[in-house]
Symmetry: C2
Subunit: 730 residues, 2 copies
């Protein structure tokens, strides 16, 4: 064990020599052997076990994509990227491996475990006051942080580097289904959005756009002239987002397969032969994304789509999901065959069932796969199981690096299912194959802050649920939350009820239209907060205790801070007509029916403490923090149509309110070089007037309408061209 | 279609000639053809489709054992007894078929569909304001009710008759596990309760007590002298409760099998040969419980256990659960075999998987099974699928009728997994194979009123959860609710974390001890309310809107009225330190840590409306309704040790409070003939005193201690021998 400290106070503890995950950006650490460590460490058999105690009031935040509440205490978790579509409450891992958490209590601290294999967390489950973290390996780096919750998040995020930023259009509404099977169907969907006056910026292509599920192919039957169809959609400002799967179909003559074989770019078995698994295309090989050369090779295939005008992708099945392996099914069939005609005792029957059921994503298969990785000391052969959590990460890195080689100036939409810390610089994530369950709306709410902690700012759930049938009410309530998530995508599985926003009757379509238009109105605030959260290593979604120090704020599990100016209190129960809300300080409730409903001045000043508020299905409530502002645009049906020269600025202004609005071209990485708009709003409440200043470097503001709520709860509407200096109360 | 009306105003609508379910007790109906019916009826192909509209504010209660909230609106349900241990939110049916629901709104009405087959309910899912009920058949009786929610429940419950009443000991704590494998283990468990000073009245024997899972056998290895062991346990006042499964092992020489074969008492295939399925014992036949003679025959086997002193049973696997059928596995293995060595395309792989997965509880099998039923017009051969929901009901009826033949005076504990309306007169139910999920604690809360509506008063969930691993916190919070359910059983599956109350550390054991002792303290009130709910056709657990007419009471999903004097507000969230509570009227909050904590006068008067209350894990809160009283006993470790001559009576007495206490011998059916204790308490608040009267027919009361909360929130403790007339305020 070696201990180091950075000049920012981060403690690094190294056990053995970890397999490089490349998650940490350059950071200077110095040896610091006398540092006292938290809890006890035990190297036992092939594991590192770390035990620490929890104080009664400690809350545990983090672990990224995982089940259960925001407070992770009292349960068991595992970091092991898993393709399991049944996100029931007892599941220990989902698609991502995000080994960072913060313990908030009398003493607040955090830890990141830099490790590529499986880690188990017992966070006060077996014994309520003790936690045990078991690392399946003895080569691991741990980074310890101390300070405030927000300070620790900033330290960690700085350590892993800036997050991925998609193009601005990707903040628009996105529609998906497994599958819109051909161009006629896609066109029909696109047209339906316009016909129903519903906003939309992108339509996803699920696996059926390919020819026999072969990566980087396009079915000629379904899309006879793909390039022309991409152009046709672009003409109406709709982006197509094709899926790319991890497995490469074994098919002689298929270029990806042939090149992979020729160059030894596939994951192998122990003997060094390409490992055979089966996923959508039937039998496949898996590209060895841990091999830099294979990564480069695979990343270049995306260029074919970029050439045709595609600007976004989603990488799927990259845990990697395995339906079965060649060896696995051989053994399973042999077992079943041996039972023929026998009077099975019941345990043999269950064994038979298990033999078939457990064919998919079998640990045995993962342990039979091998990678080549270039390390400082040369090429290294690694067992897949030991680096499992790096696979999806590096597939997506392959794509991202491919984009950079194609055009290092431009931003592309990139989503992935499997993920790992460090990947957040390359891509966003969707939260995987959830269900049309109210519980999964709650899960979505609980997960957003943990994803932000892990660096994943561009994230969102399949709104309405992927598996199962959604009701109109569920879709509406989910939309009322998702309209705040950077990724807003409605996606549903084959065989489920159609889930486009016009499928639930006229009234529901109207309600959804109001919500979705509201999303577009929020984009100035959302985008601004997103970019600032990234540049300043802040969270876009946060538990109340990220900001507020009172005890109650630590136990609120169904409200979130959203950016610096808002608190969200989504309704997440079927048939609910309202909900309870806790206010850690005085705030203005904003009851939103539509953008236009601003006319009725839908604001109510509310005292700190507990409240019950009515929230009919066609409305949702948000809360404005004192002294902050929220810039809105007029709704539009495409992001490109949003007019940021005409803003509406809303705020609860007890005495003073400020806001820094951020914007940029939305297309390039110029923001990284400081090329962006920064507009400072300051509103000062005088006795009978407001003094308002708007200070910008490059913002062509024509009009701003202010909705300013004063401390008596009265809302003053001030419509002004700019520049604005001081004006009378209206 | 024929329409009738009873003189109590119940409308009966008959389509065709239904297969008799024998759920309705004798009731006089007269033809009434001009009655207008609710909604529209359509006979279509082989179904009856009934469509009706829902008003915006309508709430739908009922459907007994089912998923989701108390308000069933907005989802799809099916009545089809199902053995499916994954009670995820999208499941449409569980183990019971309870076709009674009430629509509460501007107009309140209810309906019971008397039908033995599958019924589908779309209660405002597809379209929010429309419901469609699809009956898989055209021979069905519908009973319509109008009036108030409680009035309709009373009408319906009167129609189906009085509910099952277990012996009083069955209101004690019951411990179970799959399995306590032998008598040494059972003894150890029993002794552990006493050693930990934890109350317990019964220990369950799961399938492993049998010899090779054969009904009505006992493993000689595990229980070398069963009768002696039953006696040994009885000597320490612990009852053993063995399980009985539906399937009878095919084994030449085994008496149940041989007799069944000889008498044609088994369910057959189409050709009339006994149908072969496999469950725990391997291959089995199913007794034809719809055949009266088979029912009598099977019921008599229970006598062997009664002879040995057993006083309770649980009937399991009686949906009936089928792991696989002989024909099913033959076909599945053939399919798998045919795929050997082939390069499976992915759809064939999923078909292979489905072939194995869908072997269990296959509709195809149910459609291949046949019953013989004695009807008015002679014996009738019935396809199982058409009478599926009657199977578990009639297995349990077989047992109950067997008990009556053995001793028609005595009460026995009888539980069943599968159930149907009408069965409530014969047995209680446990709510099946739930999980150690917080969601299933919620489900338990939501389900209790619906079960009560269907007549199932003696009911409870596997506290702590059957599948999966419970945390100590979950078990504590679940216990805090279950301590009110008539059946209080802790049961967990093989392979899960041990779940006895002493398994979670000393602190948790102490908390659970306080809770479980509190349960025993509550038994006077619980038993009294149970018996009155039965005799008066009331609900023991009810949504607030059962009593309160305000709008908010219709949307509260996490509080229940419990008997006439209390409201419960269980904590159902992990890590929660408190919860919101809605009070429809002024009530006294009673914060319970233990029975002994009464000393600190843990009462707080609370105004109507919304409140947030702190509820640390070692406490729970209940609410006392004004003008009502709650009689308690001192805690004991066995029901038999409860001293009902020394009561503690608690109440919030604004001006006056009354309570009718009911008790009986707890052993026999004498209560049915009016042999019971009735004690009327009346407390009148005077200016500086209380006038208290206690009026009883046969209650040997020695002492009563009153805790009376006045309208200023002050609690007055009055300890008195009886008779009591009037006393000064203390």
């Amino acid at each position: 064990m070696k201990i180091y400290k950075s000049n920012e106070g981060v403690i690094k503890v190294c056990f053995g020599k970890m397999i490089p995950t490349e998650t940490i950006s350059g950071h200077a650490f110095e040896v610091c052997e006398d540092q006292e460590l938290r809890g006890g460490f035990l190297l036992e058999q092939s594991e590192l076990k770390w035990t620490f105690s929890l104080d009664k009031e400690d809350v545990v935040y983090g672990l990224g994509q995982n089940m259960r509440g925001m407070n992770k205490r009292g349960s068991i978790y595992e970091s092991f990227c898993s393709d399991d579509p049944n996100h029931t409450p007892d599941k220990k891992s989902l698609y991502g491996a995000h080994n960072f958490f913060v313990v908030q209590g009398a003493k607040t601290w955090g830890v990141y475990l830099d490790f590529a294999g499986r880690i188990k967390y017992d966070l006060g489950f077996t014994s309520p006051d003790t936690s045990q973290v078991s690392v399946e390996g003895q080569d691991v780096d741990l980074y310890f942080f101390e300070g405030t919750f927000s300070g620790i998040v900033r330290q960690f995020r700085k350590l892993i580097g800036q997050s991925y930023v998609p193009p601005k259009w990707a903040f628009g509404y996105q529609q998906s289904r497994w599958s819109y099977e051909d161009q006629d169907k896609v066109r029909e969907v696109a047209e339906s959005f316009d016909r129903h006056d519903l906003p939309c910026d992108a339509i996803f292509l699920d696996i059926d756009y390919m020819e026999n599920f072969k990566d980087f192919t396009i079915s000629e039957k379904r899309f006879p002239d793909f390039k022309a169809f991409v152009d046709e959609m672009k003409a109406i400002d709709i982006k197509l987002v094709p899926i790319i799967d991890a497995g490469v179909k074994i098919e002689p003559g298929y270029d990806v397969y042939e090149e992979g074989i020729k160059n030894d770019f596939f994951v192998t078995d122990k003997q060094g032969k390409p490992f055979v698994a089966a996923v959508w295309p039937g039998k496949v090989h898996f590209p060895d994304f841990l091999n830099k050369d294979a990564r480069n090779w695979f990343g270049n295939f995306y260029h074919q789509f970029l050439e045709m005008g595609i600007e976004g992708f989603w990488n799927d099945m990259n845990e990697p999901a395995i339906f079965y392996s060649e060896q696995g099914i051989k053994e399973a069939i042999a077992f079943v065959k041996a039972q023929e005609g026998l009077n099975l005792d019941i345990y043999t029957f269950f064994e038979l069932k298990d033999n078939i059921l457990k064919l998919s994503n079998a640990e045995k298969d993962y342990k039979s796969m091998y990678h080549i990785m270039q390390t400082e000391t040369g090429e290294k052969k690694l067992n897949h199981y030991d680096v499992h959590n790096l696979y999806g990460y590096n597939m997506t890195r392959a794509a991202a690096e491919g984009f950079t080689r194609y055009d290092d100036h431009r931003r592309y939409l990139l989503l992935t299912r499997a993920s790992h810390i460090g990947m957040a610089k390359h891509s966003g994530i969707w939260t995987g194959d959830n269900h049309a369950w109210w519980e999964h709306l709650k899960l979505n709410v609980h997960m957003m802050p943990a994803l932000n902690m892990a660096g994943f700012l561009y994230a969102g759930a399949d709104t309405g649920g992927f598996g199962g049938d959604a009701s109109g009410e569920l879709l509406v309530r989910w939309m009322q939350f998702s309209l705040f998530t950077p990724l807003l995508r409605n996606h549903a599985a084959m065989g489920t009820r159609v889930q486009e926003p016009w499928q639930f009757g006229q009234h529901t379509t109207e309600v959804l239209r109001n919500m979705m238009r509201m999303r577009y109105a929020f984009i100035p605030y959302l985008y601004s907060e997103y970019m600032k959260a990234n540049l300043n290593y802040e969270m876009l979604f946060a538990p109340l205790s990220y900001v507020y120090g009172d005890t109650m704020s630590k136990s609120v599990e169904d409200q979130l801070l959203f950016g610096e100016s808002m608190m969200l209190a989504p309704v997440m129960e079927q048939n609910a007509k309202g909900r309870y809300v806790y206010l850690p300080e005085k705030m203005a409730m904003w009851r939103i029916e539509s953008f236009e409903s601003l006319d009725v001045l839908p604001f109510t000043l509310m005292e700190p403490g507990h409240h019950h508020v009515d929230v009919p299905t066609h409305e949702f409530v948000t809360f404005l923090l004192p002294g902050k502002l929220v810039p809105l645009a007029k709704p539009a049906n495409r992001v490109s149509k949003i007019d940021t020269t005409d803003l509406t600025v809303i705020g609860y202004v007890p005495e003073k309110a400020t806001y820094t609005y951020f914007d940029d071209d939305g297309v390039t990485n110029a923001y990284q070089k400081g090329v962006f708009i920064e507009t400072h709003f300051e509103v000062l409440k005088k006795e009978t007037s407001y003094s308002i200043s708007v200070d910008t470097n490059d913002h062509k503001l024509r009009n701003v309408t202010f909705y300013l709520i004063d401390d008596s709860g009265k809302c003053h509407v001030i419509k002004q061209g700019v520049p604005i200096e001081s004006m009378q109360l209206v």
